[in-house]
Symmetry: C2
Subunit: 149 residues, 2 copies
Amino acid sequence: MGTMGDTTEPRWLTDEEQCVWRAYLHATTLLEDHLDRQLQRDAGMPHIYYGLLVQLSQAPRRRLRMTELAKSAKITRSRLSHAVARLEKSGWVRREDCPSDKRGQFARLTDEGVEVLRQNAPGHVAAVRQAMFDRLSPSRWSSSARSCA
Amino acid sequence: MGTMGDTTEPRWLTDEEQCVWRAYLHATTLLEDHLDRQLQRDAGMPHIYYGLLVQLSQAPRRRLRMTELAKSAKITRSRLSHAVARLEKSGWVRREDCPSDKRGQFARLTDEGVEVLRQNAPGHVAAVRQAMFDRLSPSRWSSSARSCA
DNA sequence: GCCGAATAGTTCAACTTTCAAGAATGAGTC
DNA sequence: GACTCATTCTTGAAAGTTGAACTATTCGGC
């Protein structure tokens, strides 16, 4: 019925599944909020913006095409446009034309951007560590790391 | 040094930890985006708003004090105020004065709110199942459910 | 070369979130 | 009861996000 076009009873979640699902939502929102506040307070930007700077810092010549950056950060190009505009205003990123494709733009991390990363990386790593890894014994997560090697 | 007041080298993440951390961020953002889009498309509201309706639907008399709702949804009261205003405009929630505390307000799920939940619950459960539980063997998550019983 | 379709990126308007400030009520103390 | 302080909730402005529309450029076929 309804928009599902299906009169059969859906497979509801078991109590245990519901509980796991809620716990998951709680944990992830608390963690994301925590990191967002930490970075907003210390570095003056939200977590996702910080992630963009990190990506750029690890790219060759500290720059990436907009679409590449959007893909690796898992955000839309639109959102990235706004984000880069804001980061540019803060002086941490600069846009550069792409010579080989006149539609294209690079986002390049500026020296100020490097500096803001340098200053905030320790605090951020500490926050991640404290919130995540210090609470988990290696056996709790190392199995997830198989595909990392 | 700087704001950390510490000249010692911070404990950086190992390569494996970095990789796990990135995988975690990727997975959680993709999942959240997926569910947000599913609900925005089918139900006309973001995931968090849907969660508010669910909470209300399970509360006695389908209503909760604003602060209670904010706490259980892990959001600020301010954010909840705006959210409830929007849900009220959509007709799914109504505000009611609290007789015993004139500062207080209840958010109550309307019949239309019940209906929108009824229509969208199957699709949402299916999305959660498909994105989460169908991809995990029970042993991958059941250990997290110990505190759920 | 030219045309239509695809791609890169931006922009606009509507919406959501955040933070700080504010209005109203309650609760404890004298 | 008056004072102070805490609590409840709302508001307003600034910041961030979204999805669709838009511009400019490139690509593929002819």
